[in-house]
Symmetry: C2
Subunit: 324 residues, 2 copies
């Protein structure tokens, strides 16, 4: 019968590291985690901790609420979350909420009645008070709710990078296309940072927001075509998703605006779509896979005592392709 | 207390139609179904049939297996399936299988142990024998398994439409890019039809297949760039997904091959992506939303006696945009 020491030796790590992997404690590289899991598998190691967690587990199901599966960012996020949930022996119950607060509440109720063990919320329309005093593992994406752990990219830094790049290449007539700022999301920091930097350079960008709760892609075009038509001198755009940026590129093609010649465009997310566009999109990379893994780890932390509000802000960087 | 007659009168349909809606029997237009549901809601009608079905329901969960959530076709399909499942008061347990037969088996086992009530399979790697004698509601996408109902688009017709269009515009040097034909999928009929029509016109297309079980998009490029490089006279391509076609368009842009001037391109699916591409993609439209609705209806048919193998082949048509 293999011991935790055997696992540590085989994986070439310390016993403490194995223990941290088993208890999903702290941040460990994917490489380390993989080595430990592989050693456990090869030695057929069945730790008490895992046995305990299996025993304590009521349904073996994690709930995931997101606003729209067909949005490429959320599709990629959901795919990774499902894969990591599976690695931790959890199944994934998915809710495509379309920002419907009632559907969010339904999933919170599933959690309260132990029909799911944890909840990852990447859509947040529900009143914050619904979460007050809830002692359940809920992890949020891109929103801070008192007492709940959250995962986000460094949105502010992303906005700074985009602004600095546009300024660096000489853009002076700048627009910013973003989600609706009334939704209380951390991604609004992208806008804040962008405006802060632009302001320092005496530039006052045009801001265009999507409607609240709208993932209707025709609506994107209804915003973007007038923007380009009414502002023929525009030479730089920062869009807060690659999908929005894709709509901008398509509109430019149809209106015979050359990118990057006439207009520079920067997106945000770095989903696969961004490499498929013509020209390939310059964008702010957020580490979707790592963020998904962390959300699953936070949601499945075995011991309730481990649950306290944790903020996991993931670094971003610019992927320079051909639109800026 | 409202009766079924009141509902029929308010909705302007017959009692039989209301009954068919309640029992998810036969094919009804979305319009009719919506009218009936709306009348039920307005009259606060609670039919015994629904009460029965709620009572009989064990978990209220439908399982969905698909090969890759990040693939735009499956992301859109999953989104619609979730929405229709919700309409029928079911939750959706999603498995991103990456063509792993073990994960498919896991979901079949959930069904056998009543942890889920029905299963929709849009990924099929598992040996057909695993399904032998299973008396559970399983609905397959794009594959025929003895005794199980299935949903697909009219793949053969889609292949014919693509071939005829390329011939009509004068393409003679033609290639076909498809999924791996070893996977026993009905979508292989797209290839069969395409080759049948081309053969009648004395054209022998180059065929390029993806590897089995691969949704690695870099692999797409590794197939497409050599194809375009080695066959500079190619003037027509039919790709069996819009995603493959998107990779073709991007490669053409980078290799300075004009679309549609030098090369015509036709995709398949008509996902939102196809409208975002530059130029917008000509493609074969399959009615993803209606197919999702039918899969949910077949999976949730209230009475077991209603369950017999049903084939639902949805019509396709060509959406002519700017690549062919």
């Amino acid at each position: 019968m293999a011991t935790i020491k055997d696992v540590a030796q085989k994986a070439g790590v310390t016993v403490t590291t194995v223990s941290r992997v088993l208890n999903n404690r702290g941040y460990l590289s994917k490489d380390t985690r993989d080595k430990v899991f592989q050693a456990m598998e090869e030695l057929n190691y069945k730790p008490n901790a895992i046995a305990r967690s299996l025993y304590a587990k009521k349904s073996g199901i994690i709930g995931l609420i997101l606003p729209a599966l067909r949005h490429p960012f959320f599709a990629e996020l959901a795919g990774f979350i499902e894969q990591y949930a599976n690695l931790h022996a959890y199944k994934l119950l998915v809710c495509d909420s379309n920002h419907d607060a009632l559907r969010e509440k339904e999933f919170v109720d599933l959690l309260k009645s132990n029909q799911i063990d944890a909840l990852i919320m990447a859509s947040h329309t529900l009143d914050v008070r619904e979460f007050a005093g809830l002692d359940y593992p809920i992890v949020t994406f891109d929103r801070i709710i008192d007492g709940l752990s959250y995962v986000c990219s460094d949105n502010y830094r992303g906005g700074v990078l985009a602004a600095e790049r546009l300024i660096h290449v000489g853009c002076e007539h700048v627009a910013h296309i973003c989600g609706n700022l009334q939704l209380d999301l951390l991604s609004n920091d992208r806008t804040k940072a962008f405006l802060d930097v632009m302001d320092k350079h005496g530039i006052n960008p045009i801001i265009v927001q999507t409607q609240t709760d709208v993932f209707d892609y025709k609506h994107y075009d209804n915003m973007i075509y007038p923007l380009l038509k009414d502002h023929p001198h525009l030479n730089g755009i920062f869009a807060t998703s690659d999908l929005l940026a894709a709509h901008v590129l398509r509109a430019c093609y149809e209106m015979n605006i050359k990118v990057p010649g006439d207009l520079r465009v920067i997106g945000y997310d770095d989903v696969s779509l961004s490499e498929l566009l013509v020209p390939q999109l310059t964008t702010i990379h957020q580490p979707i896979q790592e963020m998904a893994e962390m959300a699953v780890i936070l949601a499945t932390q075995a011991q309730e005592a481990d649950r306290f509000q944790q903020a996991h802000v993931f670094p971003v960087h610019m992927i320079q392709r051909y639109t800026c």
